[in-house]
Symmetry: C2
Subunit: 387 residues, 2 copies
Amino acid sequence: MEHLNQSFTVQYQYNIFFTSALFSPENELLNSFLVNLNPAVTVKKILFIIDEGVANAHPALIKEIQTYFYKYNRTQLVQDILVIPGGEVVKNDTRYFDQVLEAINVHGIDRHSFVAAIGGGAVLDMAGYAATVAHRGIKHIRIPSTVLSQNDSGVGVKNGINYFNKKNFLGTFSPPVAVFNDELFLSTLSDRDWRSGIAEAIKVALIKDAEFFEWLEANATALAARDTEAMNYQIWKCAKLHLEHIRSADPFENGSARPLDFGHWSAHKLEYLTNFEVRHGEAVAMGIALDSVYSNLSGRITADEAQRVINLIQQLGFELTHPLLQVTEGNSPILQGLEEFREHLGGQLTITLLTGIGSGEEIHEMDAEILKQAAEILNNQSVTIQH
Amino acid sequence: MEHLNQSFTVQYQYNIFFTSALFSPENELLNSFLVNLNPAVTVKKILFIIDEGVANAHPALIKEIQTYFYKYNRTQLVQDILVIPGGEVVKNDTRYFDQVLEAINVHGIDRHSFVAAIGGGAVLDMAGYAATVAHRGIKHIRIPSTVLSQNDSGVGVKNGINYFNKKNFLGTFSPPVAVFNDELFLSTLSDRDWRSGIAEAIKVALIKDAEFFEWLEANATALAARDTEAMNYQIWKCAKLHLEHIRSADPFENGSARPLDFGHWSAHKLEYLTNFEVRHGEAVAMGIALDSVYSNLSGRITADEAQRVINLIQQLGFELTHPLLQVTEGNSPILQGLEEFREHLGGQLTITLLTGIGSGEEIHEMDAEILKQAAEILNNQSVTIQH
Ligand SMILES: NC(=O)c1ccc[n+]([C@@H]2O[C@H](COP(=O)([O-])OP(=O)(O)OC[C@H]3O[C@@H](n4cnc5c(N)ncnc54)[C@H](O)[C@@H]3O)[C@@H](O)[C@H]2O)c1
Ligand SMILES: NC(=O)c1ccc[n+]([C@@H]2O[C@H](COP(=O)([O-])OP(=O)(O)OC[C@H]3O[C@@H](n4cnc5c(N)ncnc54)[C@H](O)[C@@H]3O)[C@@H](O)[C@H]2O)c1
Ligand SMILES: [Zn+2]
Ligand SMILES: [Zn+2]
């Protein structure tokens, strides 16, 4: 009998809003979003999940949320606000995932209601995953509270948790219905977390936008000194470039090209080897330094260009490299990491290198000898590199 | 700062193939699909999950699969074929979900490899869910082995398991990369399971296709007598109508219109109340009878039309109703079911009724008195209904 063909497209659309004091009674942004998204006859519920790090740093937050929805009562706040640990532990231990499902069940959150998560990338990844599988997908709202989650992880389409000791082994490609970036959350970040997320801006500027790279160079000192205005622009621009990339390429990663993973192959291995003691952004900064020097040593960019990358990374206060990134005799962890990445991609390596400030190319092989040299150069904090 | 907008579309596409003896060494269908989908430099793996009911009824199956991939070795068969119980238990107990994840992990199945499930709707739902969340989505192949899964559940886009004692509490909208309907599996079905799935054909014919309804009337005796040719056409046509509906409407159910749930609101409640002792299709047949008589009593279709529905259901060997579907004093389970369905839809009831053979309309209120009358008429197996 003749085979049947199914074919359809699904449209995805959401906004990323930038605001200050999201839950101030005067700030109508969230309320008008909720009311307009689903102009409905009945009252919709909203369940909040909050990162403990945020709740502790902002002790008035829960009260503010309650006051907000007492005023804007077209959406019914679930009074039982769930506070869960921040950081990787929330993705490692499925107990927290179950807690979110339990709250969704107990409070009768259905596909017409909302789950809103406030937190760093880890809490957003986990809560987003729970929301997107409960009832085959509840509308979820992300309220990122770290630089990394405001400029990168929180504005994208991925959710996930770790399982079998593997990073993001379980997850979904499923966008939020909206993202609210509130600058006030960033004030309570540690210096490390403030800095860390900026690595993603360097990454996306290097492969997509020379002008933005120049802006980062010009504003490195302000960013390092925790200047709010510079930070706000950095987040807005970096989020914009990420969104454009996701849109223009392959949003749910059905192919294997992943240029936005520039600098990430070695970073992932390093995070893992240090048991996440080295932050994601810190590892990415080192990964960018490594692949930039490699790009120079392999003749793709000039020494001056590589030097500019190194200078920017240092001005922002990042370390340039880590002992575990050195290529030593036999099976160095970094060469193992390269091999694992190849396997992960299904046998063929695809890595982005730079061909200039603002442009990259995909390569399918890396030379161990050049890698060794690049790592050594960074280890010596050498400022003179091959011309 | 100006908000950012994200907007993109994702294209979904897959084929439903009809065949006989899928794993016969002469049958190149599956192999050519696998090889053509992903013309790749490297060997891809395929992991099989098999419904125990199928494995027992077809004791040579595993050997046939091994022989098949020994011949067609461009795809690497995971020798460890996972056999799991069939039926609702496999969706109720998360142990089986974990077994599939474990196999995916242990055998290194990545986003370039395949998970293929052979079984009834329950096994396909569970294995599909596991595949679509592992690594944020491994390509999954469905090989349905029941009438219901070949003509309805297996050709659609939904996956899921039960949780917190709730049907499909966890799940995804995520289509397979292909469906292979092999007629040979159906020969070993019990009479109940053979018949049960035909209820979905009655359903979709009634709301979409008068001609197909007439075909079902003309072939009811052959279908009841387990005629293979009639069954094959029924499955092909019913699958086609389901696919068209999914495509034309709202594939991932972002709105709330669900015309393909005709006859299902009371069926779901009945399945649940009888602890799934009444099969899905059996309950749907009763639900269709109820809503058809209701459609007549509320002036939407003629008595003759309602009678034709009743006759067809009876000719196929279905029961017309169940004591638990009667409306009694106070809170009958069926009225409770209606209320729960309203809540499930977020406050506004949406139910499809018939306006003729082959056409339906959505209504937002049901009258308890008419419902009582309709249930009584069916209970008396009355063949004379109101003109
Ligand atoms: N989904 C994606 O596309 C994507 C992309 C990149 C990274 N990620 C994930 O993001 C995670 C890392 O996210 P992260 O860098 O935001 O760190 P994080 O979520 O691990 O949080 C770091 C720490 O900061 C605390 N914190 C959060 N906000 C705070 C605030 N406003 N004030 C004070 N403390 C606060 C947290 O409690 C935690 O202890 C990783 O799990 C990574 O896998 C996801
Ligand atoms: N995903 C969807 O869109 C969707 C739609 C409708 C129903 N469903 C789900 O489908 C499930 C019901 O599926 P079903 O009706 O196919 O029944 P089933 O999967 O429960 O299987 C019924 C029994 O038949 C056995 N079996 C399966 N194939 C056989 C064969 N060829 N020979 C002998 N025995 C065989 C099984 O082992 C099981 O014991 C429910 O869980 C329901 O929720 C899903
Ligand atoms: Zn990153
Ligand atoms: Zn059904």
